[in-house]
């Protein structure tokens, strides 16, 4: 019997701490598979964020570092500049990247740092208990917007991919989703492409992955993926936002 599919060796055997049905696990696997398929496991260095994915350093079977909240692109910048032959990536959530880390990601992008950024957008602060994030949708109920996010009071959500795509620095920016198998396959292609860009020395690559948070959205895993598809994708349209030749 031939193996059709099994867990990649780029992931360790440590069980993931994420809640049941959280799509962080899927995105971890896609990143790990992309690194494995490109054959750069020995050269890969990851930078873990603060947020639900703070323990990512336990799960990826390569060298990993932990950054202060939001500062993963700054740490990755230093790492890549002193180790230009290594493949350096960050894995960040929306609270980490779009809020406290907005300066670091913007400047890493505009400098065109040759790193790969995986940005997981689930429209909420997961680890701290479901507070409103910069990416929370208008009307979305969170613990700090119990009547729904009111844009007149709290402003509008940030479309990070579109915002960074206006800069001259980035080489590749795409938004993907993991709400069904077809989109998971497309997400994998985009993530692999983002690593490929770095290996070819083309510069800054970011993949925004729309993700679910069943626990803090107060839904079953199935309802959460449906909610993502029906509400997040209209607000955050999928596709390649920028790509240099």
């Amino acid at each position: 019997m031939a193996v059709v599919y099994e867990k990649t060796k780029m992931l360790t055997d440590k069980p993931l701490h994420y809640c049941p049905g959280c799509t962080h696990g899927i995105i971890h696997r896609l990143v790990a598979e992309a690194i494995d398929e490109l054959g750069v496991q020995d050269k890969a260095i990851g930078v873990a964020p603060v947020g639900c994915a703070v323990f990512a350093y336990d799960y990826f079977n390569c060298d990993m570092m932990e950054a202060a909240h939001g500062r993963a692109p700054a740490v990755a910048t230093g790492c890549k500049r002193v180790n230009p032959n290594n493949v350096v990536f960050t894995y960040q959530g929306d609270g980490d990247l779009a809020s406290i880390g907005a300066a670091e990601i913007t400047h890493a992008a505009t400098r065109g740092e040759n790193i790969t950024v995986i940005f997981v957008n689930n429209a909420i602060y997961g680890m701290t208990g479901g507070q409103m994030a910069p990416t929370t949708l208008p009307g979305q109920v969170t613990t700090t917007s119990p009547y729904g996010r009111d844009p007149n009071h709290c402003g509008y959500p940030i479309r990070v991919s579109e915002m960074l795509a206006t800069l001259d620095g980035p080489a590749y920016i795409a938004r993907v989703s993991v709400h069904d198998v077809k989109h998971i396959m497309e997400a994998k292609k985009a993530i692999k492409k983002a690593f490929q860009m770095q290996i070819e020395g083309k510069g800054f690559a970011l993949v925004e992955v729309l993700s679910s948070c069943p626990t803090n959205w107060g839904m079953t895993p199935q309802e959460a993926l449906k909610w993502l598809q029906e509400n997040m994708i209209p607000q955050y349209p999928l596709g390649v936002k920028k790509e240099v030749e």
Partner: protein
């Protein structure tokens, strides 16, 4: 016939794999693993076509597919 190997100890019983199975062959087991979850189980191995949709959807990389 394809063969599924399910790592029941790390399954959290979210059921996302069951939703994407084109043959609807996956269901939560009555057993309970050491973390207190009902792990996923295959109801009819003979009918599995080995598409690996379940394995690609699983957030915890619980499923190995052979064909």
């Amino acid at each position: 016939m394809a063969k599924l190997t399910i790592a029941t100890e790390i399954c959290k019983g979210c059921g996302l794999c069951a939703d994407v199975c084109p043959k609807k062959l996956l269901a939560l087991s009555h057993d309970i693993n050491s973390k207190g979850y009902h792990p996923i189980a295959i109801t009819d191995q003979e009918k599995c076509i080995g598409c690996a949709f379940c394995a690609r959807m699983c957030p915890d990389a619980v499923i190995k597919v052979e064909k």
